[in-house]
Amino acid sequence: MSAEEWSALRLSFQVAMCAALAGLPLAVAVGYWLARARCGGKWLIEAVVNLPLVLPPVVTGYLLLVLLAPRGPIGAILQDLLGIKIVFTWWGAALASMVMGFPLMVRAIRLAFQAVDPRLEMAARTLGAGGAATFFTISLPLARRGVVAGWVLAFARSLGEFGATIMVAGNIEGQTRTIPLAVYTLSNQPDGMGQAWRLVALSVLLSCGALAISELLERRPSQDVCA
């Protein structure tokens, strides 16, 4: 494997891990809220969360680019206050992947929380546990499987992310050229297909690895999730 291929592999892993982990806390919060809330504005939040799922990735990427580039509203703040530029960096790629994977994570997590009997949470409350204590000791442990599943989905989605990434992070060798982008670049060159296939194989290996880890995490002395 050449240096470029190692670089693509490293970047893909880095970006996917970061994207999935960074999105997790917010996805858990949003997923839980969607599972339990009963207010009228719920449909609006759902629609916004699902946008990256229904919009073409390139469109989402373009929106992110316009927002985050130094001339965009958010990018200007980042530039002026913190002196950082997020586009064309692997952070930008991670952000793009996180946004693309977010609806998948929320979906899986929300289903998991919906399957947790809310009466168990009430029982915990009557025993004296406040909102946060109930969430962390009862709701979250019982929804574990869904949370892990959501994480794996987001990770896998990230490994295959192309459209939004190429918009926001560009295709900068060694810095943002993840495996999908590398395959794309190689396919534009007459002699690149051999290398491209190697990268494809690597991608498959990484995904299998993620699945295996998720299986391990879910293994526990057998229990039912139902009350």
Binding site: L65, V66, A69, P70, R71, G72, G75, K85, V87, F88, I166, G170, N171, I172, E173, G174, T185, N188, Q189
Partner: protein, 271 residues
């Protein structure tokens, strides 16, 4: 379990039927008198070609479908059997490549262009020469992919000649085509970019700060080609002539291209 297996089978059937319908091949026979033709053109010529094909359609009633992109991508698609009747390429390498494959019926160098350095129009950086790109204030320089996009290859050539390539290589934000490179500069994602003069001209959000001398890149030549797919098709041949007519060349000039070909005398409609 059984019902869900049945549901999957049904969906698979539907999907394959849909695929069949979608991929029915276009009829080839009897294209001689067709009223629809397909043109592939380099991204940098987007605006010019759009205007030209409008005029052609107004005059002849022939519908012209145009696809724009990097000449590398388009050439590859043509080589793989895309149904293009004409091709306007941003460099000669891809044109020669297709000619070798026997896909070109007629060819002529039509247009010229030159590279310029652009920055966002509100940029406060002082960039007046290519050497200024190496400054630390510039973290990314946008350009077409130097490995495949003509504009990128020309840019690399020029920078290599100036001895700046090694220093600038890590900063290169390679774009799929030159218009994307332009967008990178417009949004400020890249502090500077190297694009064609014609691209810089159509964008109000960038300003040209330096011109890359033609001696550094060699002449930037845009050959126009009548492809094998369009041979014998009256409408395609007519458009091929129209592209080289005085009227079209005026349009090209308007958008900043330099003209390499002799204007074809009065060849507007029909013929």
């Amino acid at each position: 379990m059984r019902t869900s297996a049945a549901a999957w089978a049904a969906m698979a059937c539907l999907a394959s039927v849909a695929f069949q319908c979608g991929s029915a091949p276009a009829a080839e026979a009897g294209r001689e008198s067709t009223k629809t033709i397909q043109v592939f053109a380099a991204a940098s010529a987007t605006n010019a070609i759009r205007e030209i094909k409008q005029r052609f359609t107004a005059a002849t009633g022939v519908e012209v479908r145009a696809s724009f992109g990097s000449s590398a991508t388009l050439a590859r698609q043509i080589a793989n059997g895309a149904d293009a009747d004409l091709f306007l390429s941003a460099d000669t390498q891809w044109a020669d490549d297709l000619a070798e494959k026997g896909l070109v019926v007629q060819k002529q160098d039509l247009l010229g262009n030159r590279l310029v350095i652009v920055v966002p129009d509100d940029s406060k950086l002082s960039v007046t020469r290519p050497e200024d790109l190496t400054s630390a204030a510039i973290t990314h320089v946008a350009m077409g992919d130097p490995k495949s996009v003509p504009a990128g290859k020309y840019a690399r050539q020029a920078l290599e000649k100036l001895g700046l390539w090694e220093a600038l290589k890590p900063k290169v934000a390679a774009a799929d085509d030159v218009r994307r490179a332009l967008m990178y500069v417009e949004t400020g994602a890249a502090e500077a970019g190297i694009v064609y003069a014609t691209d810089a001209a159509i964008s109000k959000r960038v300003k040209v700060v330096a011109k890359i001398s033609a001696s550094l890149t060699g002449p930037v030549r845009y050959p126009v080609m009548l492809l094998k797919h369009g041979a014998g098709v009256a409408a395609a041949e007519s458009f091929y002539k129209f592209l080289r007519s005085r009227e079209s060349l005026q349009v090209f000039r308007k958008y900043g291209f330099s003209i390499l070909a002799e204007a074809k005398a009065a060849g507007k409609a029909g013929g």
